[in-house]
Symmetry: C2
Subunit: 178 residues, 2 copies
């Protein structure tokens, strides 16, 4: 574990049975509240992106928006919002993905990217990778090049990284892996 | 209207009847997608805050998170999430406020601020001011000093600014007022 990983780990608050029984939720609000730590998290996520000439940083609803915005602001790039169905007001494109029971979906505006746009995708946490993989596929299906996929935290035992890799997304970064 | 206001106005997409009939929704995603414009928006919102020695920028769910994050990152401050009921995983404090029909509420974690913390509150749009006023009151009730309240867009005809002022919050900024 890196020194930054240790600092993140020390601030994560584990919440049992949230949002439903059996899930141990990683509450990241203490990290966001720590201005100095948040600054270092953004600096570390920025590192692999800084020479990529990205057009956009895409954030996955809703905690991903926080990381996407700070990174886009630092890079001078635009922000793309990847949202749950029905949340975006205009015309959307959608990717559906499998859950343990049933399906879920993620949407973005149909004018969000043009063919050839260079994009990084970011979220707070990589678990099974279902949402992140769907998000990356949606961007690629619209012609964008997904250059990097970034997370502050990765739950390695849930193999989300393998799911992303199988779908063809190989530049995956996390600052702390459990 | 300032030149920045004109640039914002030119990018807003008006969506009739979203999220419900009779509402003309201001879609700000084209502004977020424009890296150069988003950069200038953040720079303008940063201006009144830069010498304030703020501890936190508080963002109102969920588009407010985008502005709060970029501003906090630039200021070296922490971020506080003000969320709809049930979304925050840990122990929360809540402010309830009146809607035209019924009530709504906003929550934050009970350890979000300490007495004396200096905070700015930000959201994308000021309409009637119900949510923003509740958010500012909640922070003040917990001992924080709400130094500034910022919006990218203000719907002046809905008098949200007056509601905030009546509640004792006088440093209100918007980049574009309709």
């Amino acid at each position: 574990m890196t020194e930054l990983g240790r600092r993140i780990d020390a601030r994560i608050r584990n919440i049992p049975d949230f949002p439903k029984p059996g899930i141990l939720f990683k509450d990241i609000t203490p990290i966001l509240q720590d201005g100095s730590l948040f600054h270092d998290v953004i600096a570390a996520l920025y590192e692999p992106l800084k020479n990529e000439a990205l057009n956009y940083v895409a954030g996955i609803e809703s905690r991903g928006f926080i990381f996407a915005s700070a990174l886009a602001s630092k890079l001078g790039a635009g922000i793309i919002l990847l949202r749950k169905p029905g949340k975006l007001p205009w015309r959307t494109v959608r990717a559906t993905y499998q859950l343990e029971y049933g399906t879920d979906a993620i949407e973005m505006h149909e004018d969000a990217v043009k063919p050839g746009d260079r994009v990084a995708v970011v979220d707070d946490l990589l678990a099974t990778g279902g949402t992140a993989t769907a998000a990356c596929c949606l961007l690629r299906d619209c012609g964008a090049e997904v250059r990097h996929v970034l997370f502050m935290i990765e739950l390695g035992f849930l193999s989300g990284r393998e799911k992303l890799r199988s779908a063809g997304f190989s530049q995956i970064h996390s600052l702390l892996c459990y």
